[in-house]
């Protein structure tokens, strides 16, 4: 990480500390020293520490986004590690997992090392690489997962591509089990999703766009659950998007299988009706597609009840030219890091659908558990990664002010309430009031 030197001590005073890993939700002071959490308690004295007044703010463990695309190496005009991690800091995230579908892909230990080295030079938040499951993301031969795990890969995924071959997935789960890392699968049966650009349903009928049935996701989720049962391997379902997926996850959970899942803010808050409402605006084009209102309702319940334990953005920045084309030709993806927190607070917390504790849990302890990380808590002694959120702060989404190079969001202009206002990474203040300082 780019942040060097010893950070000055910080006393974050009087905020609502929400740390689900410790079961804490109380007005407390938080003292950070030497890049670690030094003390958490009432009436702490600065003792020379710089004081941050946090009354009325949420003080939460630094948010973890286990699914982002930083596009480096290979497509730096869309995003790079410097811009992507600044976007993360602006969005309140202190740790991001970089997906391996770069050019070339991260499918061996030297590539993992390369990402870590670039991150050490340029990143302003922690970057954890995800290694590919198969060589070249081709879905045929296993990549050197052991080497990559040793080099620092925290999980494996062919994200962007489903692992279509069931035997390859079976081997990945059996082999990957030795390293204790989950296989993150982009579940989508390619024969059912061919040429599809949105959700299959009423709106695809009206718009005349080729639709992707919910079943394209569900048949592969079902297969992965069955293969997890066979192998004992850890499966993590990337960007779950349908009601049927939620049902399958519920069954897997009841059976005690090592199957986890994540959901994105946009799949929790937007529906396929938006493609119609925005008249084919390609900023609504995302994979998996925005689903029906019934799917959104099921995902919200699953998140609230813990069937889905992680919120991840699937931050997919694209260049303007990849989006300013006809709908079918546009790239899939939404730039998500800088809108995740206010979107979720506006749509889910202020509306009473989920509590602040649950939201924070799904963005901190939840991903930390899936990836076996020590992050995601404000426990004394842990790394001083902290995010302050002002739940009452109202602002419009202004993509032109994003730190991400990807301005591709269907939320442009939308008024949201509940923004991150301070991001602290290993004791260093990297963002204050929306401005990234490093």
């Amino acid at each position: 990480m780019k942040l060097r030197g010893k950070p000055e001590p910080l006393l974050i005073r009087g905020g609502r500390v929400i740390d689900p890993a410790q079961g804490i939700d109380a007005e407390l002071d938080l003292l950070l020293e030497d890049g670690r959490v030094k003390q958490l308690g009432h009436g702490l004295e600065p003792d020379g520490a710089r004081v941050v007044e946090a009354r009325g703010l949420w003080v939460v463990p630094g948010l973890i986004d286990m699914h982002v695309h930083l596009r480096e190496p290979g497509e730096e005009w869309k995003e790079d590690i410097a811009s992507g991690t600044r976007a993360a800091a602006a969005g309140g995230f202190t740790t991001v997992c970089a997906m391996p579908n770069t050019r070339p892909p991260v499918d061996d230990a030297p590539m993992v090392n390369s990402v870590l080295a670039r991150a050490a030079e340029k990143a302003v938040v922690h970057v954890l690489p995800v290694g590919a499951v198969t060589r070249g993301l081709e879905g045929k031969e296993l990549a050197e997962m052991g080497d990559m795990a040793e080099a620092g890969a925290v999980a494996f995924s062919d994200d962007g591509h489903p692992i279509a071959d069931a035997e390859v997935m079976r081997c990945a789960l059996e082999y990957g089990r030795m390293f204790g890392k989950p296989i993150i699968d982009h579940c989508q049966d390619p024969s059912l999703s061919r040429e599809a650009v949105m959700h299959l349903g009423y709106w695809s009928t009206v718009l005349g766009l080729r639709g992707m049935p919910a079943a394209a996701e569900e048949v592969m989720v079902a297969r992965d659950i069955i293969l997890s049962r066979l192998t004992g391997g850890k499966v993590h379902i990337a960007h779950a998007s349908t009601r049927g997926t939620v049902e399958l996850l519920r069954q897997a959970r009841a059976e005690g299988l090592p199957v986890t899942a994540e959901v994105t803010p946009v799949h929790l808050c937007l529906t396929d009706a938006l493609v119609h409402e925005m008249a084919y605006d390609t900023r609504t084009k995302v994979n998996p597609p925005l689903r029906s209102a019934e799917d959104v309702a099921a995902l919200r319940l699953a998140l609230a009840g813990g069937i889905i334990g992680v919120v991840a953005t699937d931050h997919a920045p694209h260049h303007q030219d990849d989006k300013e084309v006809e709908y079918n030709y546009a790239a899939f993806g939404i730039s998500g890091l800088e809108t995740a927190v206010p979107l979720l607070i506006t749509e889910l917390v202020h509306t009473g659908i989920i509590s602040p504790e649950i939201l924070v849990e799904r963005m901190t302890a939840g991903p930390a558990r899936v990836l076996s990380l020590s992050a995601g808590t404000l426990r004394v002694g842990s790394t001083a990664d902290v995010t302050l959120i002002d739940p009452g702060l109202e602002k419009a989404v202004e993509p032109e002010r994003f730190y991400s190079k990807g301005k591709n969001t269907p939320l442009a202009g939308r008024l949201l309430r509940g923004w991150p206002v301070l991001t602290v990474v290993a004791g260093h203040i990297v963002m204050r009031d929306g401005e990234v300082l490093v």
Binding site: S204, T205, L207, G208, R210, A279, Y280, V325, E326, Y327
Partner: protein
């Protein structure tokens, strides 16, 4: 009278008043087509561009004749011979047309929604000449014009649309347009060619052709794209013809004075028998003539001809 919208993108978005205005205007335009000298000066000095990303003889010629009969200049761009082949984007093509001073662009494109995209980029009227599987609004209008001309009304008509509803922009435009005008629409085809939740568009859906045709005032047959068979959406044209083809026997289930319509070009013998296609009930040739009249009306209303002096 003026249209509410600057562009003609879909009948879903078009208010009923605009549909009525276009159909009424087309009525007087049709008279021009039958004159020995088919030329009025209405759009003199205006330039209309047809930008066709998909092959089409019928629609493009119809638009070009409509423009020429009103003295507009026309330029046609076929993408096979244009800079599109060199990789130029639609956005750049559109900007080029704008700075060259075009007054209106008519576009056909294989991707649904492309005309909406074009309309966002351009500040001149855009007319949808068919976009992917979405809509073909001028076809829907000419179909409604033909029905109204022959039946004297649209309200209360029972219209059966038979064939590949899933991929049909003609079906979608007719469904929206006819629904707004008070007609009842039944769609029919193999289950693989009926899109999901089509009933929510306000129609009845069935896979049984006899049920659809029975008591219909209008039977509209759609062209079957034979490449759909290769994609496994139906097993053979032989079976399609047997189960959904419109024959004399099936047409007899409709009202005795029912109209038989087809947007063309036809696969004779597959979706429609030659016997009925060439029968007195068939309005297929009237549809072509009416297409020119409806497009004249649209160009007239969009390009300032509709402004009262």
């Amino acid at each position: 009278m003026k249209l509410a919208s600057r562009d003609i993108l879909s009948l879903e978005e078009m208010p009923r008043e605009d549909i009525e205005l276009i159909l009424d205007t087309a009525h007087s335009m049709k008279e021009i087509i039958y004159r020995p000298i088919k030329k009025v000066p209405t759009l003199r000095g205006k330039t209309v561009v047809t930008l066709f990303y998909e092959a089409s003889t019928r629609t493009r010629t119809s638009f070009e004749l409509a423009a020429k009969y009103m003295s507009a200049d026309t330029v046609s761009i076929a993408t096979a011979t244009s800079s599109v082949q060199k990789g130029e984007t639609l956005k750049d093509t559109a900007r080029t047309l704008r700075v060259m001073g075009s007054d209106c662009v008519i576009m056909r494109h294989p991707v649904s929604g492309s005309c909406h995209f074009l309309a966002r980029v351009l500040d001149i009227p855009v007319i949808n000449g068919g976009d992917g599987m979405h809509e073909h609004p001028t076809q829907g209008l000419l179909d409604m014009f033909t029905m109204r001309e022959k039946k004297g009304r649209l309200e209360g008509l029972r219209v059966a649309i038979i064939g590949d509803i899933y991929h049909s922009r003609v079906a979608r435009s007719n469904i929206w347009g006819l629904g707004k005008m008070g007609a009842k629409v039944v769609v029919c085809g193999p289950a693989t060619l009926l899109p999901p939740e089509i009933e929510r568009m306000g129609v009845q859906a069935t896979t049984r052709v006899e049920e659809a045709v029975e008591g219909a005032d209008v039977v509209m047959v759609l062209r079957l794209q034979l490449e759909r068979q290769q994609r496994g959406l139906f097993p053979s044209s032989r079976e399609y013809s047997r189960l959904w083809g419109i024959t004399r026997e099936r047409l007899n289930l409709a009202k005795p004075d029912a109209l038989l319509m087809h947007p063309g070009p036809m696969n004779r013998g597959i979706e429609i028998s030659t016997e009925v296609a060439d029968s007195p009930q068939s309005t297929i040739e009237d549809q072509v003539t009416n297409g020119v009249a409806v497009r004249m009306a649209i160009l007239y209303l969009l390009l300032g001809g509709g402004e009262e002096k």
